[in-house]
């Protein structure tokens, strides 16, 4: 018998379904809002280029939904890669310190550089990005000895630096004015409100490099499922691979956090959903989680914009409200499996 096994068909049909879900989510989110455009009318509006609907779509809705998709994709993909790297389904991009480092960078900028004004649009994301990368670099240096990196030590170093960054942010908060505090809070919760084509252009280079690099790690991540020694026996060059996985994840999360603040739980939930939907094979999981994360992020933003209209919720509030119960459910399931 020579045929592809059923699991391969399941993976492929899941990818196909998610590939259809994303454009559907994008159209839906682009259409719905204060100015309603029926999603099925969008292609026609785009072709005719005439009325007000076109202006709303091109200058407001599209940048926003594309940003939401890009941030969701980056977070979900790096989440999937880091879960594979740590061989732990509960790992999250926050673990290697990049999220809290970016938060610290942003807090330093908001509190210590008062009156930045126009500069803020570019300087704040840059500071967050640099903060995230520096923290990850520090975590990596702490965890390496003699050219090798112990994954467990990496995890512990990440926890330690997360705590340190949290403490420093707390110190800064105690010195912040009310206005700085509001700005910091809003940034911490994340949101796609400020999206313009410029935002997208600014994140494109690092975002695309990270996306391209991370998507190629499926095969070595599969080998790593058995353990580090076994991955080497299956032909994986371990140390360069681990360096790539962490550096590219930091790049992805740094880019996402710089553009949209701390949007929680997508990096954790999207890979899990794909595993439940199709299975754990990283060659399919990585593109699948990317597509799913993008769709989830777009839909969460749609809820954030419309739930309490005309006001707007930070998207991080929506993802955490939905993500936290899901995470607790996962923990309980995990607990049951361990107890068995």
């Amino acid at each position: 018998m020579i045929a592809l096994p059923r699991s391969v068909l399941r993976y492929r049909s899941a990818l196909l379904a998610l590939g259809l879900l994303l454009p559907a989510a994008l159209l839906l989110a682009a259409g719905i809002g204060a100015y309603y455009i029926p999603p099925w009318e969008i292609p026609r509006v785009l072709l005719e280029k005439a009325d007000q609907a076109y202006a709303v779509l091109v200058s407001i809705r599209f940048p926003r939904v594309v940003l939401a998709a890009a941030v969701g994709a980056l977070l979900a993909l790096s989440g999937a890669v880091l879960q594979g790297l740590f061989r732990n389904p509960l790992a999250d991009p926050g673990l290697i310190g990049v999220t809290s480092g970016a938060g610290l960078g942003a807090a330093i900028f908001i509190v210590l550089v008062p009156g930045a004004g126009a500069l803020q649009v570019f300087a704040l994301p840059l500071m967050a990005f640099v903060g995230g990368l520096l923290t990850t670099l520090l975590v990596w240096r702490l965890a390496s000895s003699g050219g090798r990196v112990q994954v467990l030590t990496l995890l512990l170093a990440g926890i330690a630096l997360n705590a340190a960054a949290g403490a420093l942010i707390g110190l800064l908060i105690s010195r912040a004015t009310d206005e700085q505090l509001r700005s910091l809070t809003f940034w911490t919760l994340g949101g796609y409100g400020g999206a313009t084509w410029t935002t997208l252009l600014a994140m494109a280079p690092t975002g695309l490099v990270a996306l391209w690099g991370l998507l190629r790690l499926g095969r070595p991540l599969n080998a790593l499922v058995l353990g580090e020694r076994e991955a080497f026996h299956l032909g994986v060059n371990l140390e360069p691979f681990k360096r790539q996985a962490v550096a590219l994840s930091a790049l992805a999360v740094g880019t996402a956090v710089a553009a949209a603040g701390g949007v929680g739980f997508i990096g954790l939930v999207a890979p899990h959903l794909f595993r439940l939907l199709a299975g754990p094979d990283h060659r399919y999981l990585l593109p699948g989680a990317t597509l799913l994360g993008a769709s989830l992020s777009v839909l969460a933003d749609l809820v954030a914009r419309t739930a309490v209209a005309p006001a707007e919720l930070p998207v991080g509030v929506v993802t955490s409200l939905l993500g936290a119960p899901f995470f607790i459910w996962l923990l309980l399931r995990h607990k049951r499996e361990v107890a068995r």
Binding site: I2, S7, H233, G235
Partner: protein
């Protein structure tokens, strides 16, 4: 040219000598069993031979070329390693775990039906096909062992390193794993297998390598190596020698259960 050559192989970690002066040559078609008490250096030897550790002294040659001149992927296309570890990070099915053996072959091309045929055949060889669709973590230790063995077979190596492949297996499957090693060697593979069961080694291996405290105590045919006085020196336990119906040596430790005093 020998498939695998080790010369004066030694390994020192943190000032402790784990292995010293081990040398042998393995031909294609040969099964070599590595024996010795716990901590004798069997696993260390396997890690040196598989390229996982760099030797502190001596060298290893694979097909006439020094081991350190191979890349990880080149090695994976030539040799497969079965470690003692049985742990999978995610709920992969048994089939998917066995299919991981195909990974080195999929570095430069996409997977095809032949890769799956290969995997299925490997699972059939280790009698693991009936539970292939089940999640690997839900299998018993013995079933997991057979899936792992199928994985290294699916890798289609020329050289096979097995670290205690008979662990967790019932007697019938122990014998079947060793018979499989023989068949594979018959097909031209070289097999290095670490075993604790002296008699299983004596029955199925061409040659035995006996390690004691990091040194090679004996290397030779089963009848030359399995001598009671030598085994007593190595294991600290008296042994008696008998003959298996096949004519191979059969040794047994001369230990007795302490008579239990009956209360009252």
């Amino acid at each position: 040219m020998s498939l695998l050559v080790a010369e004066g192989l030694g390994y020192t970690a943190a000032g402790r000598v784990l292995l010293e002066g081990v040398g042998f040559a393995l031909e294609a078609g040969e099964v070599l069993a590595v024996l010795g008490p716990n901590g004798a250096g069997k696993t260390t030897l396997l890690r040196l031979l598989s390229g996982e550790l760099r030797p502190s002294q001596g060298r290893v040659e694979l097909l006439g070329r020094p081991l350190e001149r191979y890349g990880a992927l080149e090695l994976a296309l030539l040799r497969a390693v079965l470690t003692q570890r049985r742990e999978v990070g995610f709920p992969f099915s048994a089939y998917e775990v066995a299919f991981l053996g195909r990974l080195p072959h999929l570095e430069r091309r996409a997977e095809g039906p032949l890769d799956h045929a290969q995997t299925e055949q490997a699972l059939a060889h280790t009698q693991a096909l009936p539970f292939a669709p089940r999640p690997y973590p839900s299998l018993s230790g013995g079933e997991q062992s057979r899936v792992d063995l199928a994985r290294v077979l699916a890798q289609e190596p020329k050289l096979l390193f097995l670290d205690e492949p008979t662990n967790h297996l019932d007697p019938r499957h122990q014998v079947e794993v060793m018979a499989l090693c023989r068949r594979l060697a018959g097909g031209g593979l070289g097999v290095v297998v670490v075993l604790h069961d002296l008699n299983l080694a004596g029955l199925f291996a061409d040659r035995l390598l006996l390690l004691h405290e990091g040194r090679m105590v004996a290397l030779g045919r089963p009848a030359e190596v399995l001598r009671p006085e030598r085994l007593e020196a190595v294991y600290g336990l008296p042994f008696a020698l008998a003959q298996h119906p096949s004519g191979r040596p059969w040794v047994m430790p001369l230990a007795q259960a302490e008579p239990t005093p009956v209360a009252g």
